[in-house]
C-alpha cells in the first residue's frame, strides 16, 4: 500500500478535470505513465487481434524455444507462445485490478462514510476492523484465504478487496468527518436536506481526486499480489495465462530457457511504472503542498 498517501490528500481542492488532463500532458512523467496505462488497456481490449497465437495452443515439439521470428518471446514448456500468453495475461491482470479495486473503493467508501457520520461506537468498531486488516501481512492473509476457498480468480479478487478497502475507508471517513462540522453542511442539515444527499453532493466530489491517486498507485500492488499468488501456484486456474503463472513457469524452467522468466517480468515492470507515474503525477496536481511554487 502506498503509505504516505495521507499527506497530500488533505487540503485537497476541487479542480476542473480538463485542467488535470492538460497538466498530465504537460509533464513528461505523467505523459509516459498515461501512455503506458492506455496502451495496456488497449492490449487487454484487443488481445484477440494482437496475440499472434492462441495462448492455450499446445505444441510440445516446439517447447522452450528462445526468441525467434515466429515466437518473439519464445515458447513455454508446452510450446505455447509466450508473447500471446502475456498479451492475454494483460486481460487477467487489469480485470483483477479493476474489479477488485472498484469493489474495494465501494465497500471502503460506504464503511468510511458510516464511520465518519455514524455514532461513536460504530466508528470504533469499523476502525477496529480497518486496523485489524492492516495488521496482517497481505500475503499471509492471502495464503490463508486461498487454502480456505481454493485458488481461483474470484478468490484472488476477494483477497484484494478484503485487504485494500480499509485504505479507502479511512480516506472517506476523514473526508466525512472534516465536512461534518462545516458550516454549509450544518445549514444544509438545518434546511432538512437528508444525510445521503449531503454526502453525495459534498463529500464524494471532494474524495474523488484522492481516491484516484490511491487507486492508481494501488494497481501495481494488486497486480503484483496476483502474480505472487500465481507464482506460488495459488492463483488462477491453468491454462488461464496469468503473468504470475508465466513467471512461475519461467522459474521452473530457468535452466532450460531464461526467456520465459525475462519476458514475464517485463509487463509487470511496465505496468508498475505506468500506474505509479500516473499516480505520482495526479498527486502533484491535486496536492497543493508539493505543488506550491513549482512548475
Amino acid at each position: 500500500m502506498p503509505l504516505d498517501q495521507k499527506r497530500g490528500l488533505q487540503n485537497f481542492t476541487d479542480k476542473p478535470s480538463t485542467m488535470v488532463v492538460s497538466r498530465l500532458f504537460r509533464d513528461p512523467m505523467g505523459l509516459v505513465g498515461l501512455l503506458i496505462v492506455i496502451s495496456f488497456v488497449m492490449v487487454a481490449i484487443f488481445a484477440d487481434f494482437l496475440a499472434p497465437y492462441d495462448p492455450s495452443k499446445i505444441d510440445i515439439l516446439n517447447k522452450l524455444q528462445g526468441p525467434s521470428a515466429e515466437h518473439l518471446f519464445g515458447t513455454d514448456q508446452l510450446g505455447r507462445d509466450t508473447l500471446s500468453r502475456l498479451i492475454f495475461g494483460t486481460q487477467i491482470a487489469l480485470m483483477v485490478a479493476g474489479v477488485s479495486i472498484g469493489l474495494a473503493v465501494l465497500i471502503g467508501s460506504i464503511l468510511g462514510v458510516i464511520a465518519g457520520y455514524g455514532p461513536n461506537w460504530l466508528d470504533f468498531v469499523i476502525m477496529l476492523l480497518f486496523d485489524m486488516v492492516r495488521s496482517y501481512p497481505v500475503i499471509m492473509f492471502a495464503l490463508a484465504v486461498v487454502v480456505l476457498f481454493g485458488p481461483s480468480l474470484y478468490t484472488i479478487m476477494a483477497i484484494i478487496v478484503a485487504t485494500s478497502f480499509p485504505t479507502y475507508g479511512r480516506l472517506m471517513r476523514t473526508q466525512t468527518q472534516s465536512l461534518r462540522q462545516a458550516e454549509y453542511i450544518l445549514s444544509a442539515r438545518a434546511l432538512g436536506i437528508g444525510a445521503p444527499r449531503i454526502l453525495l453532493k459534498h463529500v464524494l466530489p471532494n474524495a474523488i481526486g484522492p481516491i484516484l491517486i490511491i487507486a492508481s498507485m494501488d494497481v501495481p500492488f494488486v497486480i503484483a499480489l496476483e502474480a505472487g499468488l500465481s507464482f506460488l501456484g495459488l492463483g488462477v486456474r491453468p491454462p488461464t495465462p496469468s503473468w504470475g503463472s508465466i513467471l512461475n513457469d519461467g522459474y521452473t524452467y530457468i535452466r532450460n530457457s531464461k526467456w520465459i522468466l525475462i519476458s514475464a517480468g517485463i509487463p509487470l515492470i511496465l505496468v508498475t511504472i505506468g500506474f505509479t507515474f500516473l499516480g505520482e503525477q495526479l498527486r502533484d496536481i491535486f496536492d497543493p503542498k508539493i505543488d506550491r511554487g513549482s512548475r
Binding site: 512523467m29 477496529l128 485489524m132 495488521s135 496482517y136 501481512p137 480456505l148 507464482f231 513467471l247
Partner: protein
C-alpha cells in the same frame, strides 16, 4: 499524552487479539486434516480420531479458540504437529533471520535519504527529474520480479551470489554474502520510496522560517542543510517505517521462498501448506505483534512530536 499512550496500547492489544482470533477461525476452517499431517498416510482412523481428541480438534471452534487463548496466557503457544517441539522455540529460531533481513533492507533504503535530499535542493533540475523518474519507477517494483531477475542474473548466469539458505550464522561474512540478494530485493523499492519522501519533506522544511533565517545569516548552505533541514526532514521517514512493517513482512514471504531462506515468511508458507495449525498461529501472532507495535510506536512518536495528532480519534 500518558492517557493517549495507554489508550493506544489497549487498542493495539485489542487489534492483535481480534486479528489472531479471526486468523484462528479462518485457518481452522481450511480443508485439510492436521491428523493426516501428524500421522502420515498409513494411520488407522482410530488413531487419527484419538489424536483429534487430544488436540481438541473434535470440539467446536469457539472451544478450540478458548483453549488457544488459555494456552497463550500461560505462555504455551502449542506444539508443532510434526516434530512436537514448542511453537515458541521454532518461531524464535526463525525470527532473527527475518529481523536481520528486514532491518538490513531498511538500512539499505537509507541510501534514499541523501538522494532525496539532493533532489530537493536542486528541485526541478535535471538530477531531480532523472532521480524522480527512477525512484518512482522502482517504488512499486514487485519484489517477486526483482528477486527472480536477480536470481537469474547474479546467481544463475554470473554465479556471483549463493542461491540458497541464510549461510553460516557463525561466519558473519558468509552470512552477509547470503543476505545480499534478498536484502536488495526488499530494499530497492524503499530506496526509491525514501528518496521521494525525504524530497517532499525537505522541500517543506527548506521553506520554513528558521531555515530561511539560518540562510539569511549567511551560514554555508551545506551546514544549513545538514544541521537544520535534514534532521527535521528525516523524521517523517521514521514514523513511516513503523507503519510499513506490514508491507515489508509481506515481501519477505516471497523473498524467503525465492532464495530458500529460513525465516518467518517461509515458515508461515510451509506451515500453512502442511496445515500445521499451531505453527501457523504462532507465526501469525508474532507477525501481528510486530506490525501492530510498528504502527502504534509510529503513532506515539507522531503524537509526541506533533500534539495535534492527539486530537485525532483514531
Amino acid at each position: 499524552m500518558v492517557f493517549y499512550a495507554i489508550k493506544r496500547i489497549v487498542l493495539a492489544i485489542l487489534i492483535i487479539a481480534s486479528a489472531v482470533s479471526t486468523m484462528f477461525v479462518m485457518i481452522h476452517a481450511v480443508p485439510g486434516d492436521p491428523a493426516n499431517v501428524m500421522l502420515g498416510p498409513r494411520a488407522t482412523p482410530e488413531i487419527k480420531e484419538a489424536l483429534r481428541a487430544r488436540l481438541h480438534l473434535d470440539q467446536p471452534l469457539t472451544t478450540q479458540l478458548f483453549y488457544f487463548f488459555k494456552g497463550l496466557i500461560s505462555g504455551n503457544f502449542g506444539f508443532d504437529l510434526r516434530s512436537n517441539r514448542p511453537v515458541l522455540d521454532i518461531v524464535l529460531e526463525q525470527l532473527p533471520h527475518t529481523l536481520i533481513l528486514v532491518s538490513s533492507a531498511l538500512i539499505v533504503s537509507t541510501f534514499g535519504i541523501p538522494v532525496g535530499c539532493y533532489a530537493a535542493i536542486h528541485r526541478n533540475g535535471r538530477f531531480d527529474r532523472i532521480v524522480g523518474a527512477i525512484s518512482v519507477s522502482i517504488i512499486a517494483m514487485p519484489a517477486i520480479v526483482v528477486g527472480l531477475y536477480m536470481l537469474l542474473f547474479f546467481s544463475v548466469e554470473l554465479r556471483l551470489f549463493p542461491v540458497i539458505g541464510a549461510g553460516d550464522s557463525q561466519d558473519w561474512l558468509n552470512y552477509l554474502w547470503h543476505l545480499t540478494l534478498p536484502v536488495v530485493t526488499i530494499g530497492i523499492a524503499w530506496i526509491g520510496y525514501l528518496s521521494r519522501l525525504v524530497r517532499a519533506s525537505m522541500i517543506e522544511v527548506l521553506n520554513q522560517n528558521h531555515v530561511r533565517m539560518a540562510r539569511a545569516f549567511g551560514l554555508p548552505e551545506v551546514r544549513v542543510i545538514s544541521r537544520y533541514a535534514l534532521r527535521i526532514a528525516v523524521l517523517p521517514t521514521i514514523t513511516m517505517m513503523g507503519v510499513s512493517v506490514a508491507f515489508i513482512l509481506s515481501s519477505t514471504v516471497i523473498t524467503e521462498i525465492i532464495f530458500a531462506r529460513p525465516g518467518l515468511g517461509s515458515l508461515l508458507y510451509e506451515s500453512v501448506l502442511s496445515r500445521n495449525y499451531p505453527l501457523v498461529m504462532g507465526t501469525v501472532l508474532v507477525s501481528t505483534i510486530f506490525i501492530v507495535s510498528g504502527t502504534t510506536i509510529a503513532d506515539l512518536i507522531n503524537a509526541a512530536l506533533d500534539p495535534r495528532a492527539l486530537q485525532e480519534t483514531d
